[in-house]
Symmetry: C2
Subunit: 235 residues, 2 copies
DNA sequence: GAGTGTGAAGGCCTTCACAGCT
DNA sequence: AGCTGTGAAGGCCTTCACACTC
């Protein structure tokens, strides 16, 4: 199917970002973009952008740039499974609900198909457009509905057993938000989103930045704050 | 203060994880741990763990291991600012509320001190133990209460202006959950948590894993699913 | 023997430098 | 001149291999 192989995790993450940045700029077949413009939007170097596009097999034209339509279909070729992929989310607490709200029905090729919880008050209905079932139905539904991915948003005490349940039910990848590392067979891909580490990391580097010398890019064009108004509900 | 310099981001993230894994195992001065045991918990190699501890200046003893108390104070020396650090969260939607719930009052050395939103229905009170203010108070409060970090959980349309406001108010680091990259001066450290990329990454690698050869560790000891019971509310 | 400490090697990822195209 | 495509170099991070210690 896709000719391209062995794309690194970092590149995959950037492709996902590029797509989101390119979509609003795709206005018909005549829309092009330069590597340095996309680089600015994505916060990376222009060379990095060109190397990533090399892997897609997308070629640009000097003094014209890359055709956005080509880029989008190239990225979709890599990122999207031809028949789509479904995820099950386990643990409809605050974080789980936030993810349901954020991802529900946003893309047709990848979406959260069902949510699960042990709390009867949460099951039986629909949350942010996603059906919520008791956890005891998980194994059955994962098999029957061909769910390939699991999203774990339960407290850390239950994360490992939920992971085991998802894996034996047949999912092939896990997105883990619990603040620990799951044991799992090598056939399962696990991506950890560690919010605590992220918080402590930004705290650490925000300190070391300002004290010692900094080497980063000079960042031309940082806007001065005018009194623009802020409105609209936050998600 | 700390003698150690130039610790890499990856190491900082692991130190944060190690601490969480070690805390429940710290039972007085007599508790020790081997590098390979912590490695198993953290999902990394034993060599990696020993190298990380080298940077802390923590020494282990062959056949005895590392004293957990030493590790915890070594990690705290690196990660925690002596006088503590405060964060402001902007955007009390689902995700913002989840973070408030997750982090509120969990550690005294690093915590979310105040939340901000433009929606009057959300401001004026307390959410998960955190005071919530109108966004117009942000600049004033950040300065007055010495808030060093900003957490951005607003829709992408407002993320850049919120970042600008936080930066001009004096924060030194940002934790950004909006699905784009913020423009910012080099003096500000920005950590992006890209939930969409994480979701698409796990989708991609869960496919490529099972199809082609896998090289990962054989993972001895994956538990077979017995019918253990799942209980307790999910967060 | 079992586990640590660490120089050296390896691998992955990014950037440099520059040739080539329009 | 302006921008792309890419070999080569560089940098960061992890793993190997092994001396050393209890």
């Amino acid at each position: 199917m896709s000719l391209v192989r062995d794309i690194s995790p970092r590149t995959i993450e950037r492709l996902s970002l590029y797509r989101r940045l390119l979509l609003p700029r795709h206005e018909g077949e005549g829309s092009y973009i330069f590597s340095h413009d996309l680089a600015e939007l994505a916060g990376v170097t222009a060379t990095q952008v060109r190397r990533d596009f090399m892997q897609l097999g997308c070629m640009g034209v000097p003094r014209t740039g890359y055709r956005i339509g080509d880029l989008l279909s190239g990225i979709s070729n890599i990122l999207d499974a031809p028949s789509g992929q479904r995820a099950a989310l386990v643990g409809v607490g605050h974080l789980g609900a936030a993810l349901l709200n954020h991802f529900s029905g946003r893309w047709r090729w990848l979406h959260i198909h069902a949510a699960f919880d042990t709390d009867p008050a949460k099951t039986g209905g629909t949350i942010h457009g996603c059906q919520c079932f008791p956890l005891t139905d998980l194994s059955h539904l994962v098999r029957e509905r061909n769910i390939e991915l699991g999203i774990i948003t339960v407290p850390k005490e239950h994360a490992q057993e939920v992971a085991d349940l998802l894996i034996t039910s047949g999912v092939r990848g896990l997105l883990n938000f619990a603040p620990l590392r799951l044991r799992h067979p090598a056939t399962i891909y696990v991506e950890n989103v560690d919010l605590t580490s992220a918080f402590e990391t930004v705290a650490y580097f925000s300190r070391s930045r300002s004290s010692s010398a900094l080497i980063s890019e000079p960042h031309r064009g940082f806007p001065s704050l005018d009194d623009r108004k802020l409105s609209g509900g936050c998600f």
